[in-house]
Each structure stands twice: as structure tokens, then as C-alpha cells.
Symmetry: C2
Subunit: 163 residues, 2 copies
Amino acid sequence: MIVTPIGFVRATRQTPEDDNWGGTESAIALADELPEDALVGLDAFSHAEILFAFHQVDPAKIVTGARYPRNNPDWPKVGIFAQRGKNRPNGLGLTTVRILGVAGRVLRVAELDAIDGTPVLDIKPVMDEFLPRGPIAQPDWSHALMRDYWRQTDDNPSGRSEA
Amino acid sequence: MIVTPIGFVRATRQTPEDDNWGGTESAIALADELPEDALVGLDAFSHAEILFAFHQVDPAKIVTGARYPRNNPDWPKVGIFAQRGKNRPNGLGLTTVRILGVAGRVLRVAELDAIDGTPVLDIKPVMDEFLPRGPIAQPDWSHALMRDYWRQTDDNPSGRSEA
């Protein structure tokens, strides 16, 4: 199957990092092929799901079986589909962001954990009805892994996008 | 960009329908190319995000601009990225499901709104830290559209999968 970017991320952060995405503001600019009205009405929603490609991952590093999350042997070795790391089959990333606004062909968002130039494959509005139905359970290691993910640092260069 | 199915849906429902997905149980069987341990540890999570392809959509019907959701003129005409309908660029679907269990190469799930044979492109565990941060807001039309989406009917043929 062939997929085509529907837009590209404009962000301050130029290289992938594991943590400290809190406070990040960035933008998604529609690809030239798409009309401006593809984004009409999106700002009536508070949040959107952004589906993007981990475009800088070396194909040789893709894991298809099990591994330690972040290669940390303190955590259990689990299958690639039991973790959200970037070295995964198809290299697809998915993050729920806060919508800051729509201006013409540009969607401004908060807390998108994607670097500058990332190809975006889809944007979907978050509807309460599509959130998890029933209580959430997850293993302790995943809480430990996420501890600093959304941490906001004063000197975080991605804290404000220039986009 | 080329993406390859990592698995396929086994479900009772054979044709797309808008509503009444409540109670659906189905399964995702890993593609032959992937090792069984790709799913190890996934059953420690209560929920997963399933990324799949709307593989039966006619490319001629894909909307790139704005349209009435479900072609219903009672609702506002909004951009394709302000709705979750299947006739969208790249034809990618995304649903949060409840995990029922993992057995070898098969993941059993509840409330996956995908028909039998659907190609699956990724499976990601739901972590509380990746859910929307801050309160959710969405327009009234989206609540109206979703009213019967998860309705469970006694005679719903997809209520139990044979997978």
C-alpha cells in the first residue's frame, strides 16, 4: 500500500529525543495537493490525533519481535506492538495533540512529539466516543518510561516553535 | 511511502456499516512475516490503538476538501480532517479497542469497527500518558453522529466474532 504525506510538521526540534516534549508548540502545513478547506471546522475540537511517519528511522533498526523498551533491561522484554517506540514495522507514529488554531493551510498544535519536517499522513478529530471505553490498565514499566516524556523544561528549545 | 500489513482482521461483519459496533468481538492475526513475540506483553494493557486500512474504499470517492459528515446536510460542512469518515486521503482508520487476550499469533479485541479481512498496519498499547491532556471539547454534530455508533443490538451479527 502506498501512502502520501498530507502535510508536514514545522517545529523547532530538529532531531529525535526521548523526553521533554511538554509545552512544545508546532504546526502542520497542508501538502500542496490538498485544498485549504480540508481543515475547516477542525478548530471546533479541542484535540486531534496526528498520524505521522518516523521518517528518519534506519530500516535496519526496525524491530519485528520483542525487545527491551528503550533498550532498558530493568524493564520487561516485550513485543514491538506492546510498546510505542519508533523502530517499528511501518514506522508510524501517533499522538494526541491539543489544537491551538487553524489559519488557512496551517494547523497549530501543542505537544506533538514529532521533529521538523516530519511527514503527516492523517489528522483525525478526537471525539469522546472514540476514547477508551472502560478503565485503563497498563504495566508499571510503561509509567516509568513515560515519567519525563511530557516534562516541560525552561531551556527546552522545542518549547516554542518558530513555525 | 510504502506500508505493509502487519496483520489482518478476522470478524463476522463482512461489509462496512455506519453504526451498531457495540459488543463486537474480533481478532487480529499477525501476518506471516512477523514473529509471534511481536505481541508478547500486550495483554498487560487494557486497551490498544489499531491502525488499519479502509481497504474497500473506491479511490474515486476520496474527499480531500470539505463535505457534510455522512452526507447529512443537517450537520455543518467540514473538512475531511475535521471528521473521521472512511473516504479520506490515505484511507487510514484508527480505533481504540479493549484487549481480550493474546494467544500465540492472534490478538482478540472488543469494539474494533473494521470488517473481516481488513489489513492492519500497526498496534499500539494505550498509555494513560498518551490520552488527551486537558478537557475534551467537540461540536454538537459529532455527538449526534456518534449516537448509535457503539449501540449493541441483540441481532447484531457482528456481536460475536467467529474468529
